[in-house]
């Protein structure tokens, strides 16, 4: 039994690592193989994986996770300004400060559960957002956002005489350095920043997997199933929830820090409630409580935001140009409200469909397709076992 599970986990990690590391290759045919978006895939993947630790395991729905993302970004940029352009101290401070913030916010918010917890976290996040715009402007630089300047101290770095801003680096390897190569007519872009984020995502995913499979993870699931019963049996659940809240906050801070590492700017918009809501959408869309779901969900939403929103009428005309003019115009008119500026609409419809028909998110969809294929090929019994495992994930 033990051996089998261990094998399984190794398989998951190997598969996941290959998929992530081959990102530039896999995403290029979809027009998403450029560094900025790939970095976002990885970073928001980390954010969602961390959020899922809290929401997926304990069922505590935090509506203020963007605050930690913002804190991570601000601390990272300050490290770039004061200490060095090397990303290691920046990430370290980002994780540390967001962890501390999560400890304080969690200590207060976790006194309540359910909707009250959600509202408390939302309130804290909005507070952070508004502070960043008002009293904290000396630290956050208000609406302009915190940016690097030529006069920053950077006490560990050699004096900059080039007259242009230095770029963030990982022990000398510039984050924005990109190697390009042609393959089947596509340009593949292998970017240092992406690979740094990807390796951290793999590590973050591994930690999440270990937590899922640990006694600690089991206790968190128990809290989700019936916290009252746990309390009656004499278990104090608070340390567990607080611990996972802090871990989850540190994941968010890590993601925020990485955002600043790939693009050294921090703006308060990152802490707005829409950003907090986005990670909830990512997790539910992908499949809350599953390991891979949040990563899929974040990839989906970022793809929509960056690629779907760029489809304008000129692109549509190109798509339908093979048709007669009147028919092409008709199709362009039909499709127009759903692409470009209307990407929110498409995403909203998709989200509704997923919630109504696939409560387990995209992961459930994938499982169902898998089962269907298995039935067709006659491997039914095995897939039956699958479905029970999957459904318990969502019921408990």
């Amino acid at each position: 039994m033990f051996e089998k599970i261990k094998n399984n986990n190794t398989a998951i990690m190997v598969l996941f690592s290959i998929m992530v590391l081959a990102g530039p290759l896999i995403m290029a045919p979809f027009g998403a193989g450029y560094p900025d978006l790939l970095q976002r895939f990885a970073i928001y993947g980390i954010f969602a994986v961390g959020f899922n630790l809290l929401f997926g395991l304990t069922g505590y729905l935090s509506f203020g996770h963007a605050a930690f993302l913002g804190i991570g970004s601000y601390s990272a940029v300050w490290m770039f300004k004061l200490l060095t352009m090397n990303i290691v101290p920046a990430i370290f401070l980002a994780v540390l400060l967001s962890g501390l913030a999560a400890l304080v916010i969690g200590y207060v918010a976790l006194r309540r559960s359910g909707i009250y917890f959600s509202i408390l976290t939302l309130a804290f996040a909005q507070m952070a957002y508004n502070l960043a715009y008002s009293v904290l402007t000396p630290i956050t630089n208000g609406e302009t956002g915190l940016q690097l300047s030529l006069h920053d101290a950077r006490i560990l770095d050699p004096v900059n005489t080039s007259g242009s801003l230095p770029s963030t680096n990982f022990f000398g390897a510039a984050m924005n350095a990109t190697a390009k190569t042609e393959l089947f007519g596509m340009t593949l872009q292998f970017n240092v920043g992406f690979y740094v984020c990807a390796l951290i995502l793999i590590l973050a995913f591994y930690i999440s997997l270990r937590i899922f499979n640990s006694p600690f993870g089991l206790m968190l699931r128990a809290i989700r199933t019936n916290q009252t019963r746990l309390n009656y049996t004499g278990v104090n659940t608070k340390p567990y929830t607080l611990a996972v809240f802090v871990i989850s906050g540190m994941y968010a801070g890590l993601a925020g820090g990485l955002l600043a590492c790939t693009d050294p700017l921090a703006g308060a918009e990152r802490m707005q409630w829409t950003a907090s809501g986005e990670v909830v959408l990512m997790t539910i869309l992908g499949g809350a409580g599953t390991l891979i779901g949040p990563v899929l969900g974040s990839g989906f939403i970022k793809y929509f935001e960056n690629i779907f929103s760029k489809i304008n009428d000129t692109v549509l005309d190109g798509w339908f140009s093979f048709m007669p003019d009147s028919m092409a115009d008709f199709f362009v008119t039909i499709v127009h409200p759903f692409v470009g500026k209307g990407w929110h609409l498409t995403l909203g419809i998709l989200f509704m469909l997923v919630v109504i028909f696939l409560p387990g998110g995209l992961v459930e969809g994938a499982t169902r397709i898998g089962q269907w294929i298995a039935r067709k090929t006659g491997a039914a019994p095995e897939s039956k076992a699958n479905s029970t495992v999957i459904s318990t994930v969502h019921k408990d």
Partner: protein, 457 residues
């Protein structure tokens, strides 16, 4: 319990090895392929090389408080590209622009294509959008935007990435002041110029003894405009009673307007733009501020940065209100007439100042590339620095080499009492000559930054 995850189907070690081996082969073949480090092999970022086309990126707000301006900017960009390529109904400002090297057949023999993006008037979103234009679409220049916060953020990005940034509507002193960048250029005027141009008109109409109350949009542009207007009005002898910051996302300003009534102020300065200004002015008029007599003087409202789109949104409320603007469609010089004509026949209404500045910026960029014979940002920057031109709606204009700011005449306008059409809302009160609004590079309102060196990527 512990195997609760999605990959529960039995994946044998052999399968994994097989997949791994395949991946390994692909990986190896990639490594052996000739790797090109983009920054060293090409002379500059997104060098179009032998391609028949060159791509420009137009990054404008399509949502948020400045969406109206963004939509108008996009119209102007499309028109500019048509005129540069020679595919439009006419040639717009090409015949009036002096000097000119564009021939109406593209730039350096390449046809111009463009991509668009939504800045959402958020620094983050704007940078993501600009980044995807540079990394995915391969643009050599980014232009547009209607917020100084965004302009400064995107300008910084373009500097790092090694492309040219031709700022759209940005009025903060900082864009060519403390946040100026060697790869960024601004045609639009700035808050300091607004103050310098407005002060004499305000003195003439409202006298030397006034108490001003500022409502200020809470970001870089608001700050610098408030500071500039304060300086110039206090030099006149005015007193500043209070200055309150309002969030950019606000839509209801009544909570900010109410305290003005009891503050003893007799002038309200609205450092707001776009949707913000429409709402705050409407609120102020609803509160009856303009009918009040305070300290024996009629209460007045000033909107230092005006645009026709805002006047249209605020309707009759703008009547008699003073402000400054970069350009207005009713100007009668050849360049303005040509632009208004081609914009009008394409879209059916006159262009806004945002549209004008974006149109001019695109033409100026194209012309600079043509003169330099390259798209290399360093070559283009050199061609733009110190460039003097005329016939583009603002009279003789110069791109100052030291800070990449355009210097030209500034218009002081007033809301018309009897508009003849829905577009005829502002009248030009005075054309303030360049000499009166010009300042030294090391002026205290612009100090603290460094242009740095041009970056070609």
């Amino acid at each position: 319990m512990s195997d609760k995850n999605i990959f529960t189907s039995d994946i044998s070690r052999r399968d994994v090895l097989k997949t791994g081996a395949k991946a390994g082969v692909v990986g190896a073949s990639l490594v052996s392929a000739p790797f090109i480090i983009s920054s060293s092999a090409n002379a500059y970022t997104n060098d179009p090389g032998d391609a028949a086309t060159v791509k420009l990126g137009f990054n404008v707000p399509q949502s948020g408080p400045y969406a109206d301006e963004g939509a108008d900017e996009l119209r102007a960009f499309k028109l500019a590209v048509q005129h540069i390529n020679g595919t439009g109904k006419d040639n717009g400002m090409l015949p009036t622009m002096k000097p000119i090297s564009l021939k109406g057949n593209g730039i350096n023999g390449k046809k111009v294509e463009f991509v668009t993006g939504d800045t959402q008037t958020k620094s983050d979103a704007a940078r993501a959008s600009a980044k995807s234009m540079i990394e995915k679409d391969g643009v050599v220049m980014v232009s547009g935007g209607s917020s100084s916060g965004v302009a400064i953020a995107v300008q910084g990005l373009c500097q790092e990435a090694g492309v040219i940034f031709m700022a759209g509507l940005t009025h903060s002193n900082d864009t060519t002041g403390k946040d100026k960048k060697a790869n960024g250029f601004r045609h639009f005027f700035n808050a300091y110029m607004s103050g310098a141009a407005l002060a004499p008109v305000l003195e003439k109409n409202y006298g030397k003894e006034r108490n001003a109350y500022h409502l200020t949009a809470d970001y870089t542009w608001g700050y610098t405009q408030e500071a500039s207007i304060k300086k110039f009005t206090e030099d006149l002898g005015w007193n500043t009673v209070n200055a309150v910051k309002t969030p950019l996302a606000a839509t209801d300003f009544s909570e900010y307007i109410a305290p003005v009534l009891n503050s003893g102020a007799d002038v309200l300065v609205l450092n707001h733009y776009g949707g913000n200004m429409i709402n705050s002015l409407t609120n102020a008029v609803q509160f009856g501020l303009r009918d009040k007599m305070i300290n024996g003087k009629k209460f007045e409202i000033i909107v230092p940065l005006y645009s026709r789109l805002m006047a249209q949104g605020a309707g009759a409320n703008v009547k008699g209100i003073y402000g400054s603007t970069n350009w207005h469609w009713s100007l009668q010089d050849e360049g303005s007439k040509a632009f208004v004509k081609s914009f009008g026949q394409e879209y059916g209404f006159p262009p806004s100042q945002a549209a004008h500045t974006c149109y001019v910026q695109t033409l100026l960029y194209a012309d600079a590339c043509q003169r330099a014979g390259t798209f290399n940002p360093c070559g283009v920057a050199e061609a733009l620095e110190g460039h003097k031109f005329d016939g583009m709606g603002n009279g003789p204009t110069e791109y100052r080499a030291e800070d990449h700011q355009c210097f030209k005449d500034v218009l002081v306008v007033r809301g018309k009492e009897n508009p003849s059409s829905e577009f005829d809302l502002l009248e030009v009160v005075e054309v303030t000559p360049r000499a009166q609004v010009e300042y030294a590079v090391d002026n205290e309102f612009f100090a603290g930054g460094e242009l740095g060196q041009c970056n070609a990527g």
